[in-house]
């Protein structure tokens, strides 16, 4: 029981770290058509995430891999149920990934336009669809006792799922705008900061609607009502949201970004804690729901994986933090002119 619970929260943590890191990449990509006015702006925006996005995306691979290893049944039923949505996300991520590498390799306006479009779609679609997917998981997925999905792609595009999608987009766009304010300069940085300021009331509004809708459409609050101390987690999210506003007014963008990161992590955990012990609830009958206890791997696999994760994730964090520090300053024109980069 303990081992399975530990893995449940590690599973949540990996998703949270993925949203926290790759979230700003997806946000910047979503803002790409809006803020990338000149060629220099676009270069700056790509450079602002260039050294990190690849490492960030591996948190997704790891979240997927850990779902496979620790909860194979969830991996099987989740990904086959959300088949079309997941395939769309993957195609989008593929196009985004190569766009950075391909875009500046040919001096042709048409060529650049193709990859610019891919950067936008490859960022915006995953942001929206990850939200839709999690929203649907929160309210339960129509699958039967054999793990067979009884809906279509349109079933997933229900009001609550879409609301979660909009929330994710807002969170990531805010996160991305703040990152741009930190790492770029001049007009672009100012526009990004102004946008973050305008976005704040929207994000807050969507978050409030989401919290209310969650009460109506899901049973996520049951765990909180049973153990009220857990309400501290959504409070962290609220504090993060307030922090964004506060630090934005002080022009302390780095602190604002940290607040935004805290908001994203706390939001993810708000959902994860609310779900516990369900990983993939069925909306047809709760008896079919997959939980940390009925869908996990054998104790031996869980133990070995735990050893691997405890030994290596700190190492990964250490070198990723080092990489972030290495590229911490503002992107300069000198950086942009450098021949090897994207």
């Amino acid at each position: 029981m303990l081992l399975q619970s530990v893995w449940f929260f590690l599973w949540g943590l990996l998703w949270a770290v993925f949203f926290m890191t790759d979230g700003f990449d997806m946000g910047i990509g979503s803002l790409y058509p809006l803020l990338g006015k000149s060629e220099r702006d676009k270069h700056m925006m790509i450079h602002a995430m260039g050294p990190m996005w690849d490492g960030n995306e591996v948190w997704l691979i790891t979240a997927g891999g850990v779902t496979f290893a620790a909860f194979p049944l969830v991996y099987a039923v989740m990904f086959s149920s959300l088949y079309s949505a997941l395939m769309l996300i993957l195609f989008a991520l593929i196009l985004r990934g190569v766009s950075f590498e391909f875009r500046n390799k040919v001096e042709s306006a048409a060529w650049k336009k193709v990859w610019d479009t891919c950067i936008f779609l490859g960022s915006f679609l995953p942001a929206l669809l990850f939200g839709v997917a999690f929203g649907n998981i929160f309210q339960g997925i129509p699958f039967d006792g054999d793990g067979v999905y009884q809906g279509t792609l349109l079933t997933l595009l229900n009001p609550y799922g879409l609301l979660a999608g909009v929330l994710f987009v807002c969170l990531f766009v805010m996160h991305g705008a703040l990152w741009l304010a930190i790492r770029t300069d001049g007009d672009l940085a100012e526009r990004a900061a102004r946008l973050a300021g305008k976005l704040w009331p929207v994000l807050t509004g969507v978050a409030v609607v989401f919290l209310v809708a969650t009460f109506i459409f899901t049973s996520l609050y049951d765990n909180y009502l049973a153990t009220p101390v857990l309400f501290l987690v959504p409070l962290v999210a609220v504090a993060g949201l307030v922090g964004i506003r506060y630090f934005l007014m002080q022009q302390a963008f780095f602190k604002a970004w940290f607040s935004s990161a805290a908001t994203i992590v706390a939001c993810t955990f708000f959902g994860v804690i609310g779900l516990f012990p369900s990983l993939f609830p069925s909306s047809i009958d709760t008896a079919f729901s997959l939980t940390a206890f009925n869908a996990s791997s054998s104790p031996l696999t869980l133990q070995i994986m735990l050893i691997v994760v405890v030994l290596f994730i700190p190492v990964v964090l250490a070198y990723q933090i080092w990489a972030y520090k290495l590229f911490s300053g503002k992107v300069t024109d000198d950086d942009l002119a450098h021949e090897e980069t994207y």
Partner: protein, 438 residues
Amino acid sequence: MDVVMLSRLQFAAATMFHFLFVPLTLGLSALVAYMETRYVKTGDETYLNMTKFWGKLFLINFALGVVTGITLEFQFGTNWSRYSAYMGDIFGSLLAIEASLAFFLESTFIGIWIFGWKKLSKKAHATVMWLVAGAGNISAVWILLANGWMQQPVGFTIRNGRAELTDFLAVVTNPFGLLEIVHTIPSAFLLSAFFIMGISAWHLLKKEHIDFFTRSFNIGLVVGLVTSLVVVITGDLHAVHVTRTQPAKLAAMESHWETQAQAPIVLFAIPDEANEGNKIEIGSLPGVLSFLGHHDFNATVTGLRDIPKDERPPVLPTFVSFRTMVALGTLFPLLTIVGMFLRKRLLESRWYLWTMLLAIPLPYLAMEMGWVLAEVGRQPWIVYGLLKTAAAASPIAEAQVMTTLVGFILVYGLLGIAGFYLIANFAGKGPQTASENS
């Protein structure tokens, strides 16, 4: 077509496309790291230019390899959910270990390498490339162990209606997986060596950047010679192991129908699955198959007729892929040995340079054929002897799989065209243009 066949096609398309780019990144990353190290040690600018020129080609391949690898991981869940549920305890953990041990390292440091030229010391920058190369290859080791387990499942017990891990050490020392590692990774280096030699040959034929490309060619030549010999030896060991563990695959590889001692190898044949024999057989070498399979001319080799019909792999693709791989595998050491004799007068040996230029696609073909043999030859099993492919597919609608198959063809088609255009473009331009371009 049913969901199983569509999913198989989709998976085949995704893996074969993925494997057009991965082998080059495994070998070329190490060679680029070597070139950069030479630059750091000697201060010779040519090595720096080599690092940048080959490094750029590496990066294009790397991007394509990574993004197509992401889909592969998730396809186990989307298209093969029954497999994932049955085997996840073991297979999933290998993938997860690969991600946390190797893929993170590779992906984090590749960003540092691309963007860190001015932020790191020369020495540190070269070290970063070694980390990228090492991590990429470690990553391959785990993936091959995972595939090796599908070929020869070990260290498990069937409990709770699925395969559960009982012996982790057995899984990571699985002989099938280890043989795949020592055969596939050197093959990837061989492919990279031929890639370098072929592109260098093109520029040497045009007599441009002669010093640059002669040195590049020689690095490729040494690596190509060593690895092609390793590939032949490990390929032979691998065949012996397949004989013992997957007799049906061996029989299909040789289109061998009759169980017999002193089993012959047939030089040319057209398999006829309906009539359980070969339509045409030309040139039979008695005892050679027994020798190849068991290292003993008198050994008995099981024929396809003694394997139940529903456990026979499709003979024709297995047979053809094996022959193609072996023929090419024999050609590679010959080409590199000839190259060793000609290496002092490369520029004058135009026929050889042309040969090496035209040889660029051959290692690609050999590796793809190797995978066709490994995967098609394992059918109808998805996990040998344990789970059939037909029982492994997801319970999803045909139309969904059909739609995404079309999506795969479109997206990968676009990527393939753009990717190969860029590779050819940069390879053709040569080093100076590469360093002027941003």
